[in-house]
Symmetry: C2
Subunit: 192 residues, 2 copies
């Protein structure tokens, strides 16, 4: 699974053998079974995570026990909790595996050292952050301006690959509606 990670990196930047070695030295490989937790509410989060294969979700649980999905992270995506990572405070989120997954963990300070020593990696990380920000803004825009049905259509357009890998109620959670409403939206949509 480290191979997937290096493939991903070399697709974006070119790395010397020494640099790959440096990365390898601090990369922790981990397998997660379906439904296994990687992070739980209250933990302090200290890693950067790359998903080599599988699919993770980041979510909160509210006072009524309802799940709210913040992020879906399939293979070749990064995940974690930036807020907890940056502030050092306990996280309000959970991360678990929707599918059996293989991931790479790199501890915060190790990751920062790598970024210092490998400027290209630093640039890549910043580019990813920039892109993530733009994606977030776009999701906010959908949330404040679209109807439930439009949000669903928007989800399908943006995540065609993920749509068939997760139960419907998770899509509902991701776009902020109830599963029942999603069922009804779909029924109406197919009528047309």
């Amino acid at each position: 699974m480290f191979d997937f990670f290096i493939k991903y990196l070399q697709d974006k930047i070119s790395l010397s053998k020494e640099e790959i070695e440096m990365i390898h030295d601090v990369a922790i490989e981990k397998k997660l079974r379906r439904k296994q937790y990687l992070l739980q509410q209250g933990d302090i989060w200290k890693y950067n995570v790359f998903v080599s294969s599988g699919l993770l979700k980041t979510f909160s649980i509210d006072n009524e026990g309802k799940e709210h999905i913040m992020n879906l992270s399939p293979e070749n995506y990064w995940t974690g909790d930036r807020a907890s990572l940056m502030t050092g405070k306990p996280t309000q989120f959970n991360i678990d595996a929707i599918e059996n997954s293989e991931i790479i963990l790199i501890e915060k300070t190790n990751f920062e050292n790598l970024c210092k020593k490998i400027p290209q990696l630093n640039d890549l990380v910043n580019a990813i952050l920039q892109k993530s920000f733009i994606v977030s803004q776009d999701r906010i825009h959908s949330q404040i301006s679209l109807s439930a049905e439009e949000k669903y259509q928007d989800f399908l357009k943006k995540f065609p690959t993920i749509t068939n890998r997760i139960p419907q109620h998770m899509i509902a959670s991701y776009i902020g509606i109830t599963p029942e409403t999603l069922t009804r939206i779909r029924r109406n949509a197919t009528k047309k």
Copy 2:
């Protein structure tokens, strides 16, 4: 107004006279009157903007002519459209001044040069980006998990300083509800 900008920067990082000079050379000062546009849908956006004083808003206009407020940027905040800046594609957003404002514009390539020459500035910019991302994620979380009333309370908590500087209907737009609904929420809340 350039002074405000330098004060802001020196509060975060320490700069030599030469560095300040370099920044000054590429900083464009601009005044905006209330309701004046800085950016319009369809434009290609090429700047980084620091707000020295006043208050700007970033918004889209949908097919029905309704305004959806993406961001509110008071003094000491940055604004602009990262998506258009990054991709070079026309923006879907508008930015205008809610109050008479003074801003500093720095053209994209000039800004990138500054960041290369002043590593501290680069770090600051990345830290701001990181923080903006976390704030976005939090707003998404509010949008998918809170009721209209809770979103309003959340807004009041997060923007105590801005609340009294903008008309209510803009708060409604920011949290994705109608002005009428906001009126009713407020009426119910004061009853309690």
